[in-house]
Symmetry: C2
Subunit: 429 residues, 2 copies
């Protein structure tokens, strides 16, 4: 929808049609945990614009429950199935914005009622309704999604267990920061089991238990938060080339190798500006911005999406968690020698009674002291500091640039030596 909207703004004449397999467009996937918890009362609130609004306000035709089943690059034609059967449509420019789909392990019982993935609003509806009667919820996967949902279900008073095959939650944090997440989960009554691989799911009419290599976990609701894969079926059909990550490869103008076919969103790989290499990091904001760029290019303008630095943020119970750039491990995989430093500080001046604790970790290149990544965890002030680190990564800053950057100071917003400044100073030592 970002692409369609941008194209419309830049080109008032063209005909723009959007095909969407589900019932909804322009909805916030990231809002689903807050609908499940009840913080967001109504599913419709997660929808920013309805198909009718796109039609009346932007003259964009949106066909929902319309699935594109095939496309022909040479003839610039696609075929879609909708109410009333299959039809064909010609196009001048096709933007593939098929996004990602949940990936789940191919284990026994994965299709049992009560086992859900979370991606679309339909999933949210089904889970919220199931959750009413559920007592024991098992979440498989301790990434953003899994952990946000653990909070949703705890706030509904459920017994919640998170199972994770890796040794710790959020593997895109360095281990010491990950440990803070584990503590927060436990402090909020979430049961966690790491190094725990799910082998099967059992039940009769509904899920009853999750089997692992160790003990079984009773469950009447199971959420598979085991990640996503790019949805590239249609792209393959068109002869679109994939990148090394398995997602669609595009140039800076979001063009695929196929004439007339652009691609944007969670189905596309991006350039990681810290490593210079392709990466698959499907996130809402990146998807929107790529869409914005694709829309401009579709409308005949020149726009570029250069890449990302790997920023992400979430909130799990009272802990805000931000990360950007590379962990030490990720740096190593890209052939960079990284050192890390972690400090703890406060979110306000020491004499402010509302001051909270905050942790900052900075990873930097040995020798050059170029910043490679950072993580910020605390009860407040995390988004801003993570964003500052992203900006520092964009401009290839070294620790000393961060130390002497002119972030504003006042007692309600931090100590006079901001936690980021303190971390830089300790790193430089």
């Amino acid at each position: 929808m970002a692409a369609a909207s941008r194209a419309r703004r830049l080109d008032p004449q063209s005909q723009i049609t959007v095909y969407e397999a589900s019932k909804y467009v322009s909805y916030s996937m990231c809002g689903i945990p807050y609908y499940i918890s009840g913080l967001v009362s109504d599913l419709s609130k997660l929808v920013a614009y309805s198909p009718e609004q796109f039609k009346s306000e932007r003259r964009i035709d949106v066909l929902t429950q319309a699935r594109v089943i095939s496309a022909e690059a040479g003839a610039r034609k696609l075929r879609f199935a909708a109410a009333g059967g299959e039809r064909e449509q010609e196009y001048d420019v096709l933007i593939l914005a098929t996004g990602a789909k949940p990936w789940v392990p191919g284990i026994d019982g994965i299709l049992l009622p009560g086992v859900h993935t979370v991606r679309q609003l339909e999933d949210a509806e089904a889970i919220r309704s199931k959750a009413e009667k559920a007592e024991k919820v098992v979440i498989v996967g301790a990434g953003y999604s899994g952990l946000e949902l653990s909070e949703s279900f705890r706030s509904l008073g459920k017994d919640v267990t998170v199972l994770e095959s890796l040794p710790r939650p959020m593997e895109n944090l360095d281990p010491d920061m990950s440990e803070l997440v584990t503590r927060e989960l436990i402090a909020n009554g979430v049961k966690v089991a790491f190094n725990t691989k799910v082998t099967a799911i059992e039940g009769k009419d509904n899920v009853e238990r999750v089997l692992t290599e160790g003990e079984p976990y009773p469950a009447d609701l199971v959420i598979m938060a085991t990640g996503v894969r790019p949805d590239v079926d249609l792209a393959r059909m068109l002869g679109v080339e994939m990148g090394t990550t398995g997602a669609i490869k595009v140039d800076e103008r979001t063009r695929t190798n196929v004439e007339g076919v652009l691609a944007a969103g969670d189905n596309v790989e991006v350039r990681h500006l810290v490593t210079g290499k392709p990466a698959y990091i499907p996130l809402a904001q990146t998807a929107n911005k790529m869409g914005f760029v694709a829309g401009a290019n579709a409308a005949g303008k020149e726009a570029k999406f250069l890449g990302v630095v790997g920023s992400a943020v979430t909130k799990v119970f009272d802990l805000e968690i931000g990360r950007t750039g590379l962990t030490v491990q990720e740096a190593g995989k890209s052939g960079l020698r990284a050192l890390g430093v972690t400090i703890s500080s406060t979110t306000r001046a020491h004499y402010d009674p509302d001051s909270k604790k905050i942790w900052v970790r900075l990873n930097f290149e040995e020798g050059s002291q170029r910043l490679l990544g950072g993580q910020v965890l605390g009860q407040e002030g995390v988004w801003g500091r993570t964003s500052v680190l992203s900006m520092a990564l964009h401009s290839k800053s070294a620790l000393t640039d961060l130390l002497f950057s002119d972030m504003p100071y006042a007692p309600p917003f931090g100590p006079v030596w901001d936690p980021l400044v303190t971390a830089s100073r300790v790193g430089l030592r």
Copy 2:
């Protein structure tokens, strides 16, 4: 104290002595409004380290109530007055960290009891004690200090009037942002009078009224928040050169023109990295960092302070106010042609019931679209966004860089199109 501490860390051997005219060192001037309001219960909480701690933990000799009265650059000697009379001290390196002193207009009645400036902890003590009986408080000056204090006195239930000779509060904001501040003041029961020049202060044993070119304002406590001037008396005595701003001129290593004399803090001018010109912007964080650099250079290391981008933040009642870089007017004075754009947005996803309103103003250079400055006002999320803009100014970003910067997103921290991104997009249009 930042300079002394840094020198000690880098040079364990040297003898380090600090002369301080007041009773306190290492205190937070910025915390004074919170002591006056009672949020900070005890004055001692505003002191980060005592002279005794400096002695025992860092082997730094701190002489309080010791005023340096003269110095001789050639002989590298200074003379100070303390309990027990005047004495002399030789030095190898002298760091001038004399700071700033309040400036007040030379009007009749300025020395009356009940008329105060706010700079040192002694001022804070005196004001808090006076405030107990005061009913009508008049604050002269609508800059940071004056407005923060208006909140302090309102929270004590006082009748508060702010008088300002300029047409609006906070002249380092663009007018539309300034207007939001005015609204916040009025909504919180502060009486404001702009374009109002104070001509005299009257009273018998205590202040009774403030006279202006228009009506008189009854007062039993008057705060002169009319700005500061660099304290350069000692510097002049030493033959230290001043810059165009009237503050001490130093090079990147904080060296003055006089051999063996460094200077750091609110007595020194800095380079504004957006204009490239000298500026006098006395702020706590800058002062600390310059001290850090001066201490390193005093210890024989090479350290540089390159400059600032003009960042500042404050909170007035429920409104957080951040600014960085240049206003359109400031840009004009520096020969830059600036355009500005202001948008309003929300601090969280639209469906989050705790979402608050936020305003972003971006000023950018006509043609190049290089970011020149920005202001962020709102009930939350202001520090972070202002800091992002500072980082963008440090790296000389254009609007398009900001638009495509990878700030992290999650519903509790902003809409998927962050207010900064929206503002960049609108600016580019």
